[in-house]
Symmetry: C2
Subunit: 138 residues, 2 copies
């Protein structure tokens, strides 16, 4: 399946800029997730820190990427599947973070389990983050 960067930006009514193209390209070419710092390092001095923050924010709002909760409370991002749209994320899959190589995976095929909450509690979102060793490191 091919992913058109320009199409994605247009579809979301975002103007086509260098930073948006390159940052989105990084996500498309990466299996795992990316942190702000990863993008900053990969792009060198090409973009300002602030631009990267703003680009990530915009992508999250538009449903192009989603944030991943991690055990160490660092922020990571990964591409959304096509079902996500502005203000409506549907990334209800399990995330995996390798203790060895640090790679964060979206386990798209493993959906988050249903839980019986205590009386009076209602859920709007459930995040599952698994830590351990990934396929490469095992």
């Amino acid at each position: 399946m091919l992913y058109s960067i320009i199409e994605t930006l247009k579809k979301n009514q975002l103007s086509i800029t260098d930073s948006r193209k390159k940052i989105l390209e990084m996500f498309v070419k990466t299996k795992g997730a990316l942190a702000h710092a990863d993008i900053e390092h990969q792009s060198g001095t090409e973009f300002d820190r602030v631009t990267i923050y703003r680009t990530l924010q915009t992508f999250v709002e538009k449903g192009i990427i989603h944030t991943i909760p991690t055990a160490d409370n660092s922020v990571r991002y990964a591409l959304c599947k096509e079902e996500c749209s502005e203000g409506h994320h549907h990334d209800d899959h399990v995330h995996f973070m390798c203790d060895d190589c640090g790679t964060t995976y979206c386990l798209d095929k493993i959906s988050v389990p249903h839980l019986n909450l205590p009386n009076g509690f209602t859920a709007s979102q459930t995040d599952v983050v698994v830590s351990g060793k990934c396929g490469k490191c095992n």
Copy 2:
């Protein structure tokens, strides 16, 4: 069940100091979880920011409190059950964060479900964080 602050500190070979006593007391008296900022506010100018950071660190290392991963990537802490010890946490329960009142609950009775990971992946820890409305806010 009663919780002796002094006993807990002694059991973990920690010297008995004002900050440790008062901060641990806050956790014992609180149903939910506490953030660094909560402790700072509740204690006024009594302790330095750094002391609070170091006390929380020490308590986590000793297995007295555990950190709670949250959807918004803020750091929270809650009391551990007695099974936890230095370097060995066993807080495998579900956490709940109320979107309305912000309270974070340890749902001790709901243990994290077992998941079938992809081939080659092994889990060392699974964190489940549910967001939604709590009993009070529903």
